[in-house]
């Protein structure tokens, strides 16, 4: 490899490595937040004070809780007071409540292909999305 091509390769590599940093720097200066896909969590109606579990638990284990509820209901027919529908009584917008966060970390949901969660943009909901249980 000639020193010329080597110089080009190295320069490109360095630039590529620096790119995200510069990107974050510039976008941070411009928009005040460096995260383009920053997750805006929909704050529910203030009249609902707390969630079905304490917030930390929901943040860590909401999927476990949902799975738990699912098993109980589907396999043993025990419909507890919490259900899949309980979420949407407070968090009205699926788009902002579920999808944004899950899209932000590229974890596809396929709950809504089968379960109804009122959303104005329902037709555009990812009916075909796969890859999660």
């Amino acid at each position: 490899m000639s020193s010329h091509t080597r110089g080009i390769v190295v320069t490109v590599a360095v630039l590529v490595i620096l790119f995200p940093f510069l990107y974050s720097l510039i976008s941070g200066v411009l928009t005040g937040s460096s995260e383009i896909d920053g997750v805006f969590l929909e704050r529910p109606d203030p009249k609902y004070q707390e969630c079905v579990r304490e917030t930390e638990y929901m943040r860590f284990h909401h999927m476990d809780l949902l799975k738990e509820i699912r098993e109980e209901f589907v396999r043993y027919g025990n419909r507890g007071e919490i259900g899949f529908d309980s979420c949407r009584s407070c968090h009205t917008s699926r788009e902002r409540f579920c999808n944004q966060c899950h899209n932000a970390v590229t974890l596809n949901l396929d709950c809504f292909g089968c379960h109804y969660y009122p959303e104005p943009t329902f037709e555009t909901a990812n009916l075909r999305k796969r890859g999660s249980r």
């Binding site: 043993y76 027919g77 025990n78 292909g113 249980r133």
Partner: protein, 245 residues
């Protein structure tokens, strides 16, 4: 030589981790799920269909089922799904015999072959005797459809856009399904959609009730009227009885 030694050792370690994975998976198995103690075991649901009352051209039960359970309909016989369907039969080699229309649905066998062969325990028998599919778990291998001797199980070959009953989920394409005696209604203390409709239109050809309760309508009928079950000779012990078959 050193490299080979190292590779061998690495292989040993790797295989060890693989075994660990296997162990982890095994421990997460729970084959005896339905033995869990729950309120379901108090009932055993059964159905009696009176063919003498059932009107040949009436399809109210099919429609009600479709509306209640969002059963997919594409207008193509190969892929249409009918949890309950009406089949016209008549005696072989005899001209005079008239045609009978028979509502057919999942027989909710006591010994369901579909549950026996399901590789992921997605199809299973609830403790109240209902054979039901956990659509979150089904991998769509369609072995249950092979095993079912009644053609009562169906597969979602494609998605159906329309969604009549928003309070009940649809099924994505790629999973098998069949009648579940409207278990979601039973759990709320209601009756299956077909039974309700049949009564509402004033025919009342379908009786539904608890087989464990001796003075329920169904138990009474079974006790004192000659009833038949489809292919009872297969030993699957169906829980759907027919009067006048």
């Amino acid at each position: 030589m050193n490299r080979r030694k190292f590779l061998k050792k690495g292989g040993m370690v790797l295989s060890g981790t693989v075994c660990a994975d296997g162990l982890l998976l095994l421990t997460s198995c729970n084959p005896s799920e339905t033995t869990k103690e729950n309120r379901l075991s108090r009932h055993k649901w059964g159905m009696v269909i009176d063919l003498n009352k059932c009107k040949p051209e009436c399809t109210a039960c099919m429609e009600a089922c479709r509306q209640e359970n969002n059963v997919a309909f594409h207008g193509d016989k190969r892929w249409d799904i009918h949890w309950i369907r009406k089949v016209g039969i008549q005696e072989r080699h005899s001209e005079n015999a008239g045609e009978k229309m028979i509502p057919m649905l999942c027989n909710h066998c006591e010994n369901p072959p579909c549950a026996q062969v399901c590789p992921v325990q997605a199809t299973y028998k609830r403790d109240d005797g209902i054979v039901i599919v956990d659509h979150h778990r089904c991998i769509g291998c369609r072995y249950c459809m092979i095993a079912c001797p009644y053609n009562a199980r169906f597969f979602n070959y494609k998605d159906d856009p329309d969604w009549p009953n928003k309070s009940y989920p649809k099924r994505s394409h790629g999973v098998a399904e069949s009648c579940h005696f409207c278990a979601h209604l039973l759990d709320q203390g209601k009756r299956p959609a077909c039974v309700d409709t049949c009564e509402k239109i004033g025919v009342k050809a379908i009786y539904f009730g608890d087989l464990k309760d001796p003075n329920s309508e169904v138990s009474q009928l079974i006790a004192d009227t000659p009833l038949k079950r489809i292919r009872a000779d297969l030993g699957t012990e169906p829980k759907v009885y027919y009067k006048g078959l």
